[in-house]
């Protein structure tokens, strides 16, 4: 299994782990960082800091220029149109919470929100709680045995009462890329707001938000080789005025009296308080770097790793969830509890995830107490998989 990663050398965290005999196969949880990102953070701080958008002094102007230039870089990476809006959040979770609250005033009891069966809790709980508070109906769209969303069925579920369709483009459990265009188009025609959770998908395929016809798109920097605590909420021009301000404080206000206030439009009206400027700037640097690489080569490398992972697990008769085709595989060993296997892999320096993967309803519906998940990124190589499989064989020998 000779699958070297030409990009591995750019990730000091992966190299540090290798020295400690640790193999990182949990990138779907969070990704290691390239040194260009780490340098950008350090450089931003070393040049002196200031608040953005508020000060008249030169450092403030500089910080604001860096910040807004980062917004442009990120919009460019997402291939957003110039008139669309990029709102900075803390992450995908906050982006979806923002949407669920900023859209809430449009909903009445009996209205419907549609999600898929495979959603991460981040794209389930905000809608579930909104539905409970306002008497809305949460419709759960089923997937087939492969883990593919049943698009024909989903379209039939759209009704005159449907208000929001919120689905992930790549499940963090099933690892199957969804083709959502037809559903998005049907939802759009039905006047339903469409939200794409791109937390996993964006890592493995650069989004094209001029092609992907959704109203809102969310993703997280930390999974995209960027810093912690930053997320992006893309809002298409037609949807931006639908959002009502949801968090209040400094910077987002146009006019303020003791008894009332007027707020700025998006994006600033949705970014109260001091933003995570250094992280946002470093995230833009990360994306610009990613864009400078051969994206087809990365996709091909990850696909080769994924195929080898899948083949190795199949050869060992592991019980795989769905038919994954991207980034990760979740599985169980027959007659072995996932926690036992995870413990013995951990003992051998293999970092994989075990449990319900923040998708409890999905695991329950599959009748599984949990599963192991191996997830891949551009810096993984064939040697990582070899070490994983040899550790798996050892663990199974002890447990079976």
């Amino acid at each position: 299994m000779f699958l070297p990663s030409p990009w591995r050398q750019f990730f000091p965290g992966i190299l540090a782990f290798a020295e400690q005999q640790q193999v990182w196969l949990d990138s779907a949880a969070t990704a290691q960082k390239p040194h260009i990102m780490i340098d950008a953070l350090s450089q931003y701080y070393q040049h002196g800091v200031a608040n953005v958008h508020r000060a008249q002094h030169q450092p403030g102007e500089h910080a604001t220029r860096c910040f807004e230039s980062a917004r442009n870089t990120i919009a460019d990476w997402l291939q957003a149109a110039a008139q669309d809006t990029i709102i900075f959040t803390k992450g995908t979770t906050e982006g979806i919470n923002l949407l669920s609250q900023a859209l809430a005033h449009h909903f009445q009891a009996g209205d419907e929100i549609l999600i898929s069966a495979y959603e991460h809790h981040a794209n389930l709980l905000p809608w579930q709680q909104l539905a409970l508070a306002h008497g809305l109906t949460l419709k759960v769209l089923p997937m087939d045995a492969d883990g593919q969303l049943d698009i024909d069925h989903a379209i039939t579920q759209l009704s005159a009462r449907s208000r929001v369709l919120a689905v992930s483009a790549l499940s963090n459990v099933v690892g199957r890329q969804q083709s959502l265009q037809r559903l998005l188009s049907a939802a759009g025609k039905a006047g339903v707001w469409t939200v794409i959770d791109g937390a996993q998908a964006a890592v493995h395929q650069r989004p094209n938000l001029q092609q992907l016809d959704c109203d809102f798109f969310v993703c997280s920097a930390h999974k995209l080789y960027g810093p912690d605590g930053v997320g992006v909420l893309f809002v298409r021009q037609r949807a931006v005025t639908a959002l009502r301000h949801w968090q209040f404080g400094g910077e987002m206000v146009r006019q303020c009296d003791y008894q009332q206030a007027e707020f700025l439009p998006a994006p600033l009206g949705f970014e109260p308080g001091t933003p995570s400027t250094a992280n946002i700037v470093a995230f833009a640097t990360t994306l610009a770097w990613l864009q400078s690489l051969d994206s087809q080569a990365i996709v091909a490398h990850e696909a080769a790793l994924h195929a080898a992972l899948l083949a190795g697990l199949q050869a060992r008769a592991m019980q795989i969830i769905g038919t994954p085709n991207c980034a990760l595989v979740s599985f169980n060993a027959p007659h072995v509890h996932h926690a036992d296997l995870a413990l013995l892999l951990g003992e051998q320096g293999i970092a994989v995830r075990a449990g319900h993967h923040c998708a409890m309803p999905l695991l329950k519906s599959l009748g599984l107490p949990g599963a192991l998940r191996v997830s891949l990124a551009m810096y993984n190589d064939g040697a990582d998989l070899q070490r994983f499989f040899s550790a798996l064989d050892q663990a199974l020998e002890i447990l079976q």
């Binding site: 509890h337 926690a339 036992d340 413990l343 003992e347 075990a354 449990g355 107490p369 949990g370 002890i398």
Partner: protein, 139 residues
């Protein structure tokens, strides 16, 4: 204080003799296999320990003298850890159990990593629940 029983001393010697993780794992499995588990009919939601990703049930038999805990777990290695936990406190009164340094016990066994805060295997949650049950039994 709280001298180890002979069985506990033996377990300690066995684990300390392990050179490699495989040996420790096999020993844990053996201990788990010997655990006299909580009967099925007592594996009810009320007896579930919250905070474990793996389901663990824990019951304190207050009428038994000395105190007697019974546990059950779906995962075999955790079952071994639980057996070692019970081994350390068996025969002790509530006050004595409270005084036992269980973190130290697992460290001596070479299993302290299983108690680290990021572990979701549930051993920490079991310890917590045990303290709660003991506190109630003393009242």
């Amino acid at each position: 204080m709280n001298d180890l029983t002979r069985a506990a001393q033996q377990a300690l010697a066995d684990f300390q003799a392990c050179q490699q993780w495989e040996q420790r794992a096999r020993l844990l499995l053996q201990w788990g296999a010997q655990l006299d588990e909580l009967p099925e009919e007592l594996r009810v939601p009320d007896n579930l320990v919250h905070g474990c990703e793996t389901r663990v049930w824990l019951v304190l038999d207050k009428n038994a003298q000395p105190l007697h805990f019974q546990v059950a777990s779906e995962a075999r290695l955790l079952r071994g850890l639980l057996a070692l936990l019970l081994l350390r406190i068996e025969g002790l009164s509530a006050n004595h159990i409270a005084a036992v340094n269980l973190v130290d016990w697992f460290a001596q066994l070479g299993l302290s990593r299983q108690l680290s805060p990021s572990r979701s295997n549930g051993l920490n949650a079991v310890l917590e629940r045990m303290r709660e049950l003991l506190a109630h039994s003393v009242d």
